[in-house]
Amino acid sequence: MERGNPEDKEMTVDIIKEIYDAVLEGNVDEASSRVQQALNSKVEVKEILNRGLIAAMDLVGEKFGEGELFIPQVLWSAKAMQGGMDLLKPHFSPTDRAEKGTVVIGTAKGDIHDIGKNLVAIMLEGSGFKVADLGVDVTPERFVEKAVEVKADVIAMSALLTTTMQSMGEVVSVIKAKKLPFKVIIGGAPVDQAFCQEIGADAYGMDAADGLRKVKGLLGR
């Protein structure tokens, strides 16, 4: 498609705005149908992704951090974004890097409290990260093994219990011993910055929004 035609350009701007709004409002059907429409009209995939889906989700994350949006609304925005992404994926060229990075996530060994972890996972996905969710009660070996397998950038762990948070340190030790390239971020109610430093993790997220911010920070994205 030829660029530079003012009418087309206007239409592109309109449809990107509609995608952006649909994600912001968490309107899953609208987001998907607008992305499909954009693809049919040969709007550039990168445009749809960066200025539509991801830009909207960035604002959602920001608004959540400022207390203007609530968790369920963030999750529906993430769903709307995900629906759009699924439609875009077949159109990515081999050189396009679809994701901002890959994160392996799970709760610490012995800990089955996963709501906070789920929130972080959904927010990461919503922001364009590839997430490998190992679920609950994940051993340090399993974290590392999975990270190697998916070529992860970050390992994210959470714990709700003071008894289980200790195992997060073991993951850091293994990574350091084996000189693996993974960054480690930790979170959960009993965890704090001091503990993060004590075990040598790279970052501490005080809540889901902060976790997302820190992961972006770790990867410089």
């Binding site: 609530f70 968790i71 369920p72 996963d114 109610a189 005080m206 809540d207």
Partner: protein, 484 residues
Amino acid sequence: METGLNNQCTPQFRLLDEAQILRIYQTALRILDEVGVRVNLTKAVDILAGHGARVRDKNVVEIPSFLVEAAVQSAPSNVTLYNRKKEPVMELGGRRIYFGTGTDLPKTVDLVTREIRDTKADDIVASTVISDAAPNIDFIASYGLPRDIPPGLHYIRCFQLEVENSVKPIFFTAGSLQDLKVILDMASAVAGSSRELARYPFLIQYSEPTSPLTHSEEAVSKLICCAENRVPINYTPALLAGSTGPVTLAGALSVAVAEALSGIVIHQLAAQGAPIITGVVATGMDMLKATISYTAPEFRLTHSAYADLFHYLGLPIWGTAGCSDAQFPDLQAGAEYGFTLLNAALDGCNLIHDCGYIGQGFVASPEMILFADEVIAMVKRYMRGFEIDDEHLAMDVIRKVGPGGHFLSEKHTRDHFMKEHWRPTLFNRENLPNWIKKGKKTVDQKLIEKALEILKNHKPEPLPQGIKESLGRIWKEATQKTRR
């Protein structure tokens, strides 16, 4: 179809059963018939005598129960209050709850310096603006007794400042019949005429008989004036158990109820069907400190009891809550606000006043209006209860998520979380690291910041210029009369 299930559960509270209600009521009727009330206004004594009451010792009136029962019958069970713009905003009756500030606090905790100083006219404006901005404050009162306005004029000035700075209904006091007339002139100027004022009342006069069993000349004059002008009046005694009433709660309550009922009799005989709101304070006098408790548990018991009684009689009910005996906004104030506001809501009182009071009815601390506002929001959510139907029992989504999943991303969650769950605006729900990061603010600090922010940015709907000028003229005349 589901049968026999009320799909909305709500908190229910009754203190008295029907037999207990009748026992108190009948005792009050006996007090009026056998002991009588002193009425210090010949006009009122004559009205009562003309309808079958017996007069002894010149002005002690024994009121037979048929007069009380007739008055209870003729008094409206519902009083609609309008805002300054003639929009209906409060329907006083049933178990509908509305909240507002109280009147006449001589001292104020300064928002900035935190010193306890004399209340000034500026404070009346400030508390009115704060009340205007507070979503759960339904009506406003002077909240202060300004020391920089000459005595004899401050009630008039307060009313003027309130009506200029808020559209909300005004609960007001007046020193004398003369004050009241000037204030009614102002209110008529706002409404367009006295007739329009009676049709769309946006104010409630607050006047009190004197315990035990006495109607002062001033109080009863105001009572009759409001009846004749069909302006709503709240005519409610404040009795101190052990000092101006019996020390026992049943006795104190019976006397206070007799006082309130005798007010309704005079009022209804003066103008049948005129709007009146009733209630009592029957609290203890502290026998060590000789002070009056606004929050004693005994007060809450008599509060619940009279609410049950007046609900039974079908009369709009006044209440007292959101107040404290603490001299400074502290933990005691927090506990007393929570306790009394929940209690008054459970009592189903219609016109709940004194929100924002501290210092046993002597001290204002304007940010506490916002504290009351937050607690009221919490209490209102609690009082709403919850729904028990298929949608709210949520079987579909329970089945969908199954064991071990989560509900965060479900449409059901998104559809209901806003309405089903209350969120504070000032109370903390930050986790510890976020709370530390945001400056470790306690609710006291946040309240003061919010109050100052409202005073800086909130612009109440202004009174039309012409009306403002009329009020200015009425004020000027009043000041000239006082000088003479």
